[in-house]
């Protein structure tokens, strides 16, 4: 059984009379101990997807439909109280802006201790401190960080604190939402290495949200390509990133320098993201797709399945359907 099963997930933001479809009909399976990278440009709905899994979207203006089944429980249906017990203990997250991810007027140790006590109210202060310092060591942080305030740390150190914090309960699922985007490449490399080591050690399942394809290619097993709220292609990194089937993935990869082989000219994808408040009849990418035919504008493409759970949503990709 999959650890996390997302079925037909739709997320709509309702603002100023408009409905913005940030996530459209996404289905995704995450197996235990998987590492999945979700890539896409800004506004493609990656973060919304992550926040929807955690149910952290503002409920007043957001409508979420579909199913998010984690460990056999549909997270969208359970009560707030039950959800609170799952949060952080089973699913934790490292946020994009780590610099602001803790309260600026409380000491780091105080906050981590407080968060630990949410799920382990009977733990003693010494016990918690010992555990936290152990985690600090794992992510290469000095003990003194425990008694510092967030502003006294550098961006990289705060990132490590966030990672340590996300691991205090050894969660089953760890979501990293652009967790290393704000860092320089050297620090990013170090932290990614640490995360991969920790994953081995703690048997984590990891979802990594990023717009940096190279991060996914070096740290993840599988990759999901999102565009304007749609999942366009999903599969093993070794398949999707080397011989992409979807024209969007191909375009995305052309805009990065290739990992191996000869140097080619970098090319962007012409045009920009479609207006998400308008419903589109055909393929969401048709407007920008160089290979689009008339059917692309008329009908929504179905997910075409290949071996090794390689899924592509494109009219042009046919023939090798194994199902």
């Amino acid at each position: 059984m999959s650890l996390l099963e997302i079925k037909n997930l739709n997320v709509k933001y309702k603002v100023e009379g408009k409905e913005i479809n940030a996530v459209r009909n996404i289905s995704l399976n995450v197996e235990a101990k998987d590492s999945i990278g979700i890539v896409g440009e800004s506004g493609s709905g990656k973060s919304t997807l992550a926040m929807a899994i955690l149910r952290l979207l503002p409920e007043k203006i957001v409508e979420t439909t579909g199913e998010i089944i984690f460990d056999g429980i549909n997270l969208l249906e359970i009560s707030e109280n039950k959800l609170r017990k799952i949060r952080w203990k089973d699913i934790s997250v490292v946020f994009q802006k780590s610099m602001n991810s803790l309260s600026p007027v409380h000491k780091i140790g105080f906050q981590i201790k407080d968060i630990y006590k949410v799920h382990e109210p009977n733990a003693t202060d010494e016990e918690i401190k010992e555990k936290v310092l152990e985690l600090f060591k794992l992510v290469n942080l000095a003990d003194r960080v425990y008694d510092l305030y967030p502003h006294e740390l550098s961006g990289g150190m705060m990132q490590r604190v966030s990672i340590a914090l996300s691991l205090i309960f050894y969660p089953k699922l760890l979501i990293l939402d652009e967790a290393t985007t704000a860092l320089d490449v050297v620090t990013q490399g170090q932290i990614l290495d640490e995360i991969m080591k920790l994953q081995e050690k703690l048997h984590l399942t990891r979802i990594m949200i990023t717009h940096d394809v190279s991060v996914v290619s070096s740290t993840c097993k599988k990759v999901a390509v999102m565009y304007a709220g749609y999942l366009l292609e999903f599969g093993y990194v070794s398949d999707v990133l080397t011989k992409p089937k979807h024209p969007y993935t191909q375009g995305l990869l052309k805009s990065f320098p290739s990992f191996t082989g000869e140097r080619k000219d970098l090319r962007g994808i012409k045009g920009s993201l479609p207006d998400l408040s308008i419903l589109h009849g055909g393929c969401i990418f048709a407007d920008r797709c160089e290979e689009a035919t008339s059917i692309c504008f008329r009908e929504k493409p179905k997910m075409v399945k290949f071996s090794d759970s390689w899924n592509v949503a494109c009219h042009l990709v046919v023939g090798e359907d194994y199902e």
């Binding site: 952290l56 952080w88 803790l102 409380h106 305030y149």
Partner: protein, 321 residues
């Protein structure tokens, strides 16, 4: 932290010295002449004018007057009022207590009530309570204070006769001890009520917007993601982060009300600094005015220093400077 406090105190002292020098010369260069007021405007006697000018040292160059004044202050002598011939320090002592009683009580009441209402409105943003309170706060903001005071006098003192119209205590009753305290409190209700109602909207709006802003910070999302209860997040994290602008507002308004309370004091015939200042300005009572300004600037600076220290205790980022 020690360096921080030392710096604040040094800045405070510099501010007092600067504002003292500024007001000293400003008052004396301003049009008007105390001797003319004393000697009377109709048929003044030139000899009397001459005599008074020499007596009060106003014949000397202003720089000499300034150095003499400084010498006297250093001895703890603020001089004598031209009008009443009483020591300035004694006059201020008599009047500063009623003013502080009025301003401190009303400021504390309004900071507590205003912050409470603001926090409550922010928790239920967009609710009927929130909308009504916001509306009321703008109405009060555009209400003149003296008018509100007069209306209160008409309603509570003249019509219902449940509260006294003016003064700080009943002149006819000769109360002692607890009865006197009760009497003062009865007299305080209307002026303190007026001042509080005028200030509550400031604290209401500032705490409301500050709480709303803190609620949208990233770390609140982190705390939510950890499964912490909303009430705990609010009481432990939101409030401490949101209280800082309220403290700024408190010290600013404290400084303002000590001098700006004059109009309300006059409406309620409150024996405070407000009327003393008005009289001193009208009669160009130089020593009294200079003394009052000095005391006010010291009060303001003390309030500022205390605020800065409270700041530093709450927000570690400020200590770093």
């Amino acid at each position: 932290m020690k360096g921080y406090i030392g710096k604040r105190i040094a800045t405070g002292i510099l501010t007092i010295i600067f504002s003292f020098c500024f007001t000293f010369f400003l008052i004396r260069y301003a049009p008007g002449n105390p001797i003319k007021v004393l000697a009377g405007t109709e048929n003044p006697n030139p000899e009397l004018i001459e005599h008074l000018t020499v007596k009060y040292g106003l014949d000397k160059p202003i720089i000499v007057q300034f150095t003499n004044y400084i010498k006297n202050i250093l001895k703890g002598d603020l001089g004598y009022s031209y009008m009443s011939n009483e020591p300035v320090i004694k006059l201020i002592k008599e009047k500063i207590f009623p003013t502080l009683l009025l301003t401190l009580t009303s400021s504390i009441i309004s900071v507590i009530v205003g912050t409470f209402l603001g926090v409550h409105a922010a928790r239920k943003v967009g609710s009927i309570f929130d909308r009504i309170m916001c509306g009321i706060s703008y109405i009060i903001d555009s209400t003149p204070g003296f008018w509100l005071g007069l209306i209160f006098i008409i309603i509570f003192a003249s019509t219902f006769k449940i509260l006294p119209t003016s003064g700080m205590h009943d002149l006819r009753a000769d109360n002692e001890g607890f009865a006197r305290v009760l009497d003062v409190i009865r007299h305080m209700i209307l002026p303190v009520g007026t001042l509080s109602i005028l200030q509550i909207p400031l604290y209401f709006r500032i705490s409301r917007s500050s709480v709303l802003q803190t609620m949208s910070e990233d770390f609140i999302t982190t705390l939510r993601a950890t499964g912490m209860k909303e009430s705990r997040i609010f009481n432990k994290y939101v409030l401490k982060n949101a209280i800082i602008p309220t403290i700024t507002m408190f010290s600013l308004s404290l400084a303002f009300t000590i001098s700006g309370v004059a109009l309300i004091e006059i409406v309620f015939a409150w024996p405070g600094m407000g009327r003393l200042i008005m009289e001193a300005i009208k009669k160009r009572d130089y020593p009294l005015l200079t003394g009052i300004y000095l005391i006010i600037s010291i009060c303001v600076c003390v309030a500022m220093i205390v605020t800065d220290i409270i700041y530093a205790l709450i927000d570690p980022r400020i200590r770093l400077e």
